[in-house]
Symmetry: C2
Subunit: 146 residues, 2 copies
């Protein structure tokens, strides 16, 4: 099921947070959106509907666990979920905590920048919880689903 040219078959695709046989959770390194996680399916399938129902339930349960963790830890203005895969057609869900102060809000992270953060505080420093602690909370939340 591996595609030699697929970056998500070849590489982990971010900072490893948790992994199970069928999926892994990574944190993307996106300075504008520090609380940006991805749930990546292990097998190379392109579309959500390529998965049988039980596997769809499995990956969505992980997505929801990440979402709930971000909501509890960070009280974001909004959670954004998406699976696009136009560039890398290997099933992965973006789970992104958005804040009304972030660089692009209310635009999608793929849209136009709306502001530049002023002052010395980075986006990461504005989070209610430091990223290593957030990663640990996410890891703990998805552990039961592995």
């Amino acid at each position: 099921m591996e595609h030699p040219d697929c970056p998500l078959c070849r590489d982990i695709g971010g900072l490893s947070v948790a992994s199970a046989e069928r999926w892994r959770v990574i944190r993307a390194v996106e300075p504008d959106f520090p609380a940006f996680y991805r749930v990546i399916w292990t097998d190379h399938v392109a579309e959500f509907s390529d998965l049988p129902p039980a596997d769809r339930d499995a990956i969505m349960a992980v997505v929801v666990a990440v979402e709930q963790t971000l909501r509890r830890a960070l009280s974001p203005t909004k959670i954004n979920l998406a699976t696009l895969g136009n560039v890398v057609p290997h099933l992965h869900w973006h789970v992104i905590a958005r804040f009304d102060w972030d660089s692009h809000f209310p635009n999608p992270v793929w849209g136009e920048r709306r502001r530049t953060l002023t002052g010395t505080e980075t986006a990461e420093a504005r989070l209610a919880v430091p990223l290593p602690e957030l990663d640990a909370l996410v890891r703990e939340a998805v552990r039961a689903l592995a």
Copy 2:
């Protein structure tokens, strides 16, 4: 559960395709992306994880039925799924058929335009199936889930 200021509580939000008690399917009027559907939850909830598990399963079943219909009818290059809600925080899923020839591909529909279609054919005219027929196929696919 209605919010008077919420456009998705007040209006249908697009061209009506199908509806059930808990959700409705509309087609967005987006000339660059003619096969762009939304599955809108009836109650005003902001986040996917605000729904109890049975309701999450219900809305994802509708999303998948729309996705499968678009794949079968149009053979798109990719399906894009997203629930953002930064502007309208009332739960709705975007289900979008993307084509390697479309105005933004491989960028997200919210990203930068990559090309202008040349010739007299609109994006809609390039679809393998006319939109009224596509709407009927979507309606038929989700009927069993109502």
